[in-house]
Every structure is written in C-alpha cells, then in structure tokens.
Amino acid sequence: MAIDLNLRVSGQAGQGVDTLGTLLAEVLHADGLHLFTHQDYMSRIRGGHNYYQLRIADQPLTAAREKLDLIVALDERGLQEDWPVAGPRPVVLVDGEFEQSEGLKLRVPWARLAEEAGDARYANTAAAGAALAQLGHPLETLLARLEATFARRGPEVVAGNQQAARAGYAFHLEHFSRMLPLHAPVLPPHGQLLLSGVEAIALAALAGGVQFYSGYPMTPTTGILTYLAQHADGQDLVVEQAEDEIAAINMCLGAAYGGARAMTATSGGGFCLMVEGLALAGMTETPIVIALGQRPGPATGLPTRTEQGELWFALHAGHGEFPRLVYAPGDPTEAFELTFLALNQADKYQTPALLLYDQYLADMTATVPRPDFSGLTVDRHLATAEEIGGDYQYARYALTDSGVSPRALPGTPGAVVEVDSDEHDVHGHIIEDAETRKAMVDKRLRKSAGMRQDMLPPLLTGDAEPDLLLLGWGSTKGCLAEAAALLRQSGERVAQLHCPQLWPFPAEAMSAVLQSARRTFVIENNATGQFRGLISRETGICPDELVAKYDGQPFAPQEIVAAVRSRRREKA
C-alpha cells in the first residue's frame, strides 16, 4: 500500500469525538480513499476518554492498526491515554496558540477561530480543517459535507462552519508548512459505501423484508433499532420499543405468527431475558431472527467494549432441545449477507436464527463494495392453498419427511392455525402421551438435516498445506487476514480459516482443514477459547494453540503476529 495512515480523534464524552471522526471519515471516503474506522468509548455521557480511529489507505482495508500517525486531541489532558507505549511519536494537533507548539505537538487555536467564525461550537469544524491540512488533503469535500450536514440549521450555521473549517485549514498551512504533511491525496472515485456493522445489519433487515421489529435499547444494538425506526414509515415496517426484552421477543413471535417477518436485536443481558421466548420459537416453530451483539460480561460487564464471550450461550440458550441456526459475520459486507440469509433460512426451517456479532463489528465502519441486489429474493415458504385445504382440516404441525410443516397464517378461510407452547399434536392441541411427544421431537429435530445441507462452509484462504493455520470467527476476520499476510511476508506458509456459520457446525470441512495444517492457532476475543472448544467437541481435533484476549479491546494484526511468534519460540 502506497498510502496507509492511522488517525485518532480523541477527547471526552460529549466533546464531539464521534461527530468529528465520522465527518473526516466521510470526507476521505468520498474523495476516493479507503477507510477502516473503529471506536472506543466509555459508558458515560460526559467526561472520560473516548476515541474514534481512522485508518486511511489507497486499497481496501480489513482491520485497524495500532501505530498512530496523527492524533487530533480535543482534550489535551486526556492525551496520555493515546500515547504509544513504544515506537515513533505521532503528530498531535491540539487547541492553542502557535507559539506554544513544541516538537510534533502542533497548536491550532480552533476555539478562537470558531469564535471568530461566529460560534464557539464550530471549534471541532476548525479542527477538521486543520486535520485535512496535516493530511495534505484539499478542503472542498469537507465544505460540501458541512453544507449537507447543516443545511437544515440555516445558511448562517453552514457559513459559520465553513468559515471555521477554512480558518483551521489556512492556519495550519500558514504556520506548519515546513512540517511534511501526511500523504492522503484525493484518489479516483471508488463508488463504494462507507458502512458500519450495525448499518449493514439494519439495511439487510430492510432488504430481507422485515415487517416487524421490536427491541429494547442496549449497546451495541441500539443503532439497529434507531435506523429501522427512522425508516419505518418509508420502508413500511412496524418498529416498536418494548418495555423489556421479554416483551420484545414475544411481540416479535406474535407478529411472526400473524405472518410478518420479524426480527429483534439485543446484547447478552437482554438475551438472557429473551431465552424463554427463544425456546417458545423453537417449540411453536415460529421463525424469528435475533441479532445478538456481544459485549464483555458477565452481568453488566464492560457495556461499551467488545468480546466474543457468548458463543456457547448462543449455541445452548433455551430449555429443551430444538434446532437453531447461528451465523457470525466478520465484517460489514458479511453482516449484510448473513442477516439477509438468516431471515430466509428462519422462514425456510420455521425456527430461530441467531446473528452473533460484537461491539467491535457493530461500530467499525469500512469502505465496502455496494451489496449486489440482483438475484436477492425474500423467500417466505408459506403453505399453498392446496396444502391448507378447507373444512378446518389444516394441521399446523403436520408430520413431514423434512420436519417442516406447511405454514398457514391465521385469517385463512376454512382453516384455523393453532400454535402451542405445550407439547402438542399435529393440530397444535395439548397432548401428554409419550408417542405423540416423541413424534413431535423427532419432527422438529429432522429439520437439522436440511439445515446441514444449506450450511455455509468455513472460508479458507491462503497457502495450501500451511505451516500455520489461524482460525477465527466473527469480527476477527479482517484482523486475521492481515496478520496472515504479515506472517507470509516473513516467508511462512500461512492459511486463515473464518467460520461464518457456527450452527449447524461444518465439522467435516473443518476436520479436513485442521488435518492439512502443521500448527493450528485459534484466535478469540474471550478468555476460555469457546470456538476452540466447539471445534474439539465437533471434530475430535483440538487445535494446538489458543490466543485469547478478554480485556474489552479488539485484536490488532501486529498483536496476533507477535503472539504467534512468541508461542512458536516457546515450543521451539
């Protein structure tokens, strides 16, 4: 990569870190650069120390990088939090008069420039101008973004912000022209989208024909609820904030029974409350998609940080035995694809589908190709008129070879749709006899055979018969790809395996891959190696090493490279 820069905007909660980071990302993305951003924020509305980090390149990016090239510090006192432990120092932009600048700490008086532009609240816009100057990037797209963003607040606010941006830009050029700017020029347009994980999930929910969504606000899922609520009227779906997660999932199941495609999202603590409803979906064979956004637990844990600690929970949640689907996207593109797939598969098998993601994926944004809509269809798999028949003969739980019974909707003339959480007969009436019980358990579990046929294989990339195999799931996908590339540069034969579907588990394909590699490393954002345990259980092969991280932070590629090298030295 000719261009690979790393910029961090940091400051206290409430200072506009997210807004400024987003603004810079949008400008640079629009100007043809490729972005990968992620966030770290505290569970507070004011104070503390948050950051928004932008990696900027001339090629597609899949992961964040540790080493910083530029910090825009909105809160100078918090700057030590951003300071690298070792390695070269980044350029730092802080508020203040030029004369107080020292070394790489460059002062731009953005508070003063904002007041001169008419309002102290334009300070971050002046900082954005200065940041672009430091990046050697022109100002025009920022000026256009400011117009688009503030148009509804009136021409005065637009003009004031634009003046502040120009002033910050000009001040930097005037005083720091001797500093070599970082090189982030305008590139030919790539025509791609700048999409976050939650935006991808929400868009796929709309594309996937969700007609009813109910949820309860909880990080890192609130973005889905917000996006869908904003588009509910235009896209014609019902969105309701429930009184709790129990109500959310039961509303969804009621709506799904009525025939609406239904979805909800929550995090671990909320999912605990939904588990009862998950089992109800399994028993009543009501399709539903639950997006489970993980964050570090147990209990409230670290509410705004990231972890992959709920794999076993997702696999085993719910009392009793029933089939389920568990998908785990690794990036915004896959989040779109798997959300869409989960919605169709839940309807096909009339069973719950879980979409397992985490805070890191939720909040990461990346420059990604536009989703391909050609060939995408919403497949409802509802009963035909012949299957329903008349004269009240329809049986919701008719026994079939596939285990899937024709699904009619209430309100069909001459048929009643009877659904029960008790064990039931083919009509949905309560039963207690052993024979019917066994027939119904078998019927429900028979659906697993079809689900296994539709199962997504693990994605294997890199060298054949590798010396090193890196295995992961979920949001580590891009990070493992970059770590594998770094290891390959030093002459290793390296392969990467990413597992987008975790249940049913692709055990056979996984066994073959494991047997082809000399050393196998599982990399997981949890303490106990849940994916490694799942692989062992399902294949009988325990991968050699576990690289676990459970401090609430995502992995960086360099960190994985270092961990792999150090383990190999230990074993050498």
Partner: protein
C-alpha cells in the same frame, strides 16, 4: 353465520363446576353474536387454567408463555389489524408473571380484548396465593395468608386511561356474554376482569360469597365519569359492582404508525430492491475530481 357447534373443540380438563365453563360458554355465544367464524378469530393466551381456554374453542390461537400473552397479542395485532385479537388470561398470568406487560399494554393501548379469569388463586399449580388473593386466604405456601395487599387491576386501568374497563361474573352468563360483545366491538384495549369462583382451591370467594355481593351498575351510571369510575373500581367487600365501569376515547396503538394503520403488513410484501435507494446515504459525494499531482 356460525352456530355453537362450529366452535366445538376438544374436551376440557377443568374441575366440575369451575367458573371457566361459563366463561367459555359466554365467549362462544359472544363470538356467534358478533357474527365471527372460527377462522376469523384469534385468541392469545399464556399459561394457567384460563390460558387453556383456546384449546376448548375452535379458532386460531397462539398459546404462548406464562405472563407473555399481552406482548404476543400486541405484536399479532400490529401485524394483523384485520383480525380480532382476544387474550384469555388469568390473575396469575396477567397480573403476576405478566404484571409489567399489563402496565405497558394499558399505556400502549393496542386494539385487543383482554379477558382475565380472576379466581384469586393459582389453579394450575394447585392452590397458591395469586396477586388478587385476599390477605385472609391461607394456603400451603402462605400459612399466614399472602403478605402483600391484593392488586386492584380495574383501578389501575382507570388510572392509566384504559379506554374500556369492565367487570364480569362467571355466575351471570348473559351479562358476561354481553360484556364480551361490547369489549370485542370496542376500539382499543378492552379489559374485562371476570370474577371466577375456583371450586377446588379458593374456599373464600365462592359462588355463594359472590351471590351476596355482586350488583349490576345502576341505570344512569356514567362510565365516562373518571372520578366515579375510580371509586367504583375500588368498591370491594360488602358490594361489588359488575358492568362497564369506565370508557374513554383515546388514540390506539398504530394510529400514528403508517405500517399499522395501512392494514395488515402481510398484504404488502417488500422486495430487497426497495432498499437500494437508501444506499446513497452511505456513498457520500466528493466535491471535486482527482487533484492534479
């Protein structure tokens, strides 16, 4: 036009003389009077003796989880405003396990009917106190009687501006049938708390006990008088009023939500391509082409 036989379903498992039999009969006759066929009606229930009612009356039903009938009914009605949705629930199901949902259903006001079989005791689990049990009800799990005051569902419903608040009695079938007809016809959440003697586990609130106390609201009673309704809703002991205690015109869940007010969402399937227009928001426009190098 349906007749009683059309609603015939499975044999019941209730105790002989249970108040539920009359509630079931009142429900069937009310549905016939409303001109509804079994396929046109949807019952939603949770768990308990009352929640078994849908199994004994041929119709569409969603028999879900203990306490969760109200959110399921809310979701169903939001998706299918074309279907009359009737919740059959009990005092434990609706006021205990589902207490939070009851509170918020009253606030949200979906267009559903809620029939609460209120026998002031747990039947399915055999005789424990319920949220509406009197403090005098000594049970095997409450040897000193319940240590909480009985819940007052109708007073709470009036306080929260529920648009239709009524009390029925399982010992007065024609009156109860009439209340159910009115409740189903009413737009918005219609709550009918039905006093239901439990002949097996509640030896205090018997048919005889009720017969001495219940009275129909007098002619000329104004159910739109909120202060009077609040007073009647709390009347208990010597005299217990029956009838529609409170009525109010208020907005219904979905009135402000186009996806509900347009009719059943199931009649308007969406296509993935409809979403393509939203992608522009994520493209962001450049203000200039490539800068000269």
């Amino acid at each position: 036009m349906s007749i009683l036989k059309d609603y015939q379903s499975q044999a019941t498992t209730w105790c002989p003389h249970c108040g539920n039999f009359n509630i079931l009969q009142a429900m069937k006759t009310a549905l016939i009077e409303l001109g509804l066929e079994p396929w046109q009606v949807c019952l939603v229930s949770g768990i308990g003796q009352a929640a078994k009612l849908p199994h004994y009356l041929k119709c569409n039903y969603f028999n879900g989880l203990h306490g969760r009938a109200l959110p399921a009914a809310t979701g169903l009605k939001a998706a299918r405003p074309d279907l009359p949705v009737i919740v059959t629930t009990g005092d434990g199901d609706c006021y205990g396990e589902g207490g939070n949902h009851f509170l918020h259903a009253l606030r949200r006001n979906p267009d559903i009917t809620v029939i609460v079989h209120d026998n002031q005791v747990y039947g399915l689990t055999k005789g424990q106190a319920s949220p509406t049990s009197p403090r005098e009800l000594v049970t095997r799990t409450q040897p000193h009687g319940p240590q909480s005051e009985p819940f007052a569902p109708l007073a709470l419903a009036v306080l929260l501006h529920a648009p239709f608040v009524a009390r029925g009695y399982a010992g007065d079938l024609p009156h109860l049938k009439d209340l159910i007809v009115q409740a189903v016809s009413h737009r918005g959440l219609a709550l009918v708390d039905v006093l239901q003697p439990c002949v097996t586990f509640n030896h205090l609130n018997t048919y005889e006990w009720y017969a001495e106390r219940v009275y129909p609201l007098e002619e000329g009673y104004d159910p739109t008088d909120r202060a009077a309704a609040l007073e009647r809703a709390q009347e208990w002991g010597e005299r217990i009023p029956l009838g529609v205690l409170y009525r109010e015109e208020r907005s219904v869940f979905g009135d402000d939500l186009p996806a509900i007010s347009r009719g059943p969402v199931t009649e308007r399937p969406r296509t993935p391509q409809q979403v393509e227009s939203l992608l522009a928001e994520f493209e962001f426009a450049a203000a200039h082409g490539v800068a000269p190098s």
